[in-house]
């Protein structure tokens, strides 16, 4: 597979919502390359299209125009089940609002994620929870955890399957500064030690500093890149 070291390659992405006069162009010919093992922060003001970009890159919604290649494979034209399979095998998500399943314990949330991905056997759920510092809440349900604990369990859920690409949408957005810092340290460690590729959406300069590269978005396009 000739991917020139890029795990993610997006080119000419267009995405709009609504119709007629109410139509809003969110992505306007966006190009983006993400190298394997990179920790990329995508910054921009509210409404600039950051989250939509993440949804398109995570194959949760389709672009109107343009192409996305993951690990050298063009995925734009794939059918729903094939896109599903790529999400299952290659992508992990961390959401701003954690999105843990409320009726399951922290441990079972992770186990379910592994089960969905067909990896329920042989993965060290305890090890992941310990690495994230939340083993002590493994038996608790999300409602019985603090926000910081919930986000760390959510990150553990995303990382347990060892996806090639971790997409994080404002992962610190609901956390206080201490918990936000702790989570960022975990992500940085994951990126440095495991070589985990991370694309993180944020509007915070201080959060973006944790990344190895920062890109700025405005009006649905990438403006510039800073290492």
């Amino acid at each position: 597979m000739n991917d020139n070291g890029n795990i993610l390659l997006a080119s000419g992405l267009h995405k709009s919502f609504g119709r007629g006069a109410g139509k809003v162009h969110v992505l306007r010919g966006l190009d983006l390359q993400v190298r394997r093992g990179e920790f990329l922060a995508v910054m921009g003001s509210s409404g600039c299209g950051k989250s939509t970009l993440l949804h398109v890159l995570g194959l949760m919604t389709a672009a109107d125009e343009g192409s996305v290649a993951i690990d050298g494979r063009e995925v734009t034209t794939l059918c729903e089940s094939s896109r599903n399979e790529i999400r299952r095998r290659n992508i992990g998500f961390v959401f701003q609002r954690f999105n843990l399943i409320g009726v399951l314990s922290g441990y079972d949330n992770i186990l379910l994620s592994l089960k969905v991905r067909g990896l329920a056997d042989g993965r060290d759920v305890r090890g992941v929870l310990e690495a994230m510092g939340v083993w002590h809440v493994a038996r608790r349900k999300p409602a019985q955890m603090s926000m910081g604990e919930q986000q760390r369990v959510a990150a553990a859920r995303a990382l347990a399957a060892r996806p090639e690409l971790l997409l994080a949408d404002e992962p610190t957005g609901s956390l206080d500064s201490a918990n936000a810092q702790a989570l960022l340290e975990l992500l940085v460690e994951q990126n440095r030690r495991q070589g985990q590729t991370i694309v993180m959406i944020t509007h915070s300069e201080s959060v973006a500093q944790a990344a190895t590269r920062v890109v700025h978005m405005k009006d649905g396009r990438i403006l510039d890149t800073h290492a």
Binding site: H55, G58, M60, T61, S81, N84, E85, I86, R87, R88, R89, I91, F93, F95, N99, L100, I101, G102, V103, L104, Y107, D108, L111, L112, S113, K115, V116, R117
Partner: protein
Amino acid sequence: MVPLPLANLWHHKLRSSLTALGVAIGICMLVTLSGLSRGSVDEIADRWEAVDADLLVFPANASDNIAALSGGGLGEKDAQLVRQLAVAGHPAVEYVAPVYIHRGKIGSGANNIFGCAPQDLPRLTGGRRFLEGRVFDPDNNCECYLQHRIGQAGQGVLEISDEELAGNGGLEMVIDRRLARDARLKTGDKVHVLGRDFTVVGVMQEGGLARAFIPRATAQWLGELDRYTMFFVKLKDGVASQAALEALRPRRNLTGITIDQYRGMLMDMLGVMYIYTDTANAITLAVACLFILVSLYTMVIQRQREIAILKSMGARRRFILGGVLSESLIIAALGAAAGIGLSFPAAMGIEAFRPVLTVRITWGWIGVAAVSALAVGGLAAIYPAWKAMKIDVVEALTLE
């Protein structure tokens, strides 16, 4: 790991329980109503099959169905003809037990009141024993007295008072245990029926032909003298029932069936009742289906975010469909188990409240109920599962 469908059901305990209860009521109704309708008919047929006889002979002009036959369509001459019935030139009949049937209300409902000779009672009840008391008019005094008075009267007007009848054992009655319970009667109690006050002189085990017996002479006196409703005929050993029925065919005013055929006749007449009970059951199951559907639909709507999370992880279509279907089937299975379990006390309650009714819960209907419940569970899951598949991941994940 606790499977997600179980975790969800447990988390919404009240909703899950109420939905399962809805299914349980439907299944309980299915099992109990089927057991009641079919059990009652079977119990009547069983009682007739208990009679120590091979044939039933009745007027040819009676309808094809004799389950509701009463009155006096046969005479003494007919009884003689049947007694003399021959097959292949040999006498075929061991004995004939003529009966005169009235309909009368005792206890909670109308009953066939069989007038028979006291010596025929053991044959007609298949040897059921007396739990208390004795047979009515054991010396047949009533019949002798009535014949004597009829002879005296000649062509004149014959009047016989209740005191005369009672004094000669004519107003005595034997009932079975179920009727005794239903009407709260015991030996020595009075029963007002057929316009007279009868005295209960004996209570028998249930299971023999009828629930109430009176002297045949009284039944004829209150109906038509020297007339009978039907004959129970016991054939001699070795005489085939069908051959005897063939021998009966030339008697133009008589016809007959084997005792075994009575069950089919009863089904033909009362089988229409099954249409009503089965329709009621189908409606109940449809309501149970709607119960589950609404519950699952609500669940899917409430858990759009959860389903979106699963989809964002790349959950296969069958995983999500399987989750919805599993919840539905678990509710249906719990409802079925509870419904089947409830049907037993329900049956006991019905029989305790109305002792003349019979509820027979069979493995067959338990199986039908279980399969119906699972089918209902499967059907109810279709639309919610389809709805779950249609959920937009991005939209659902941004829901508050």
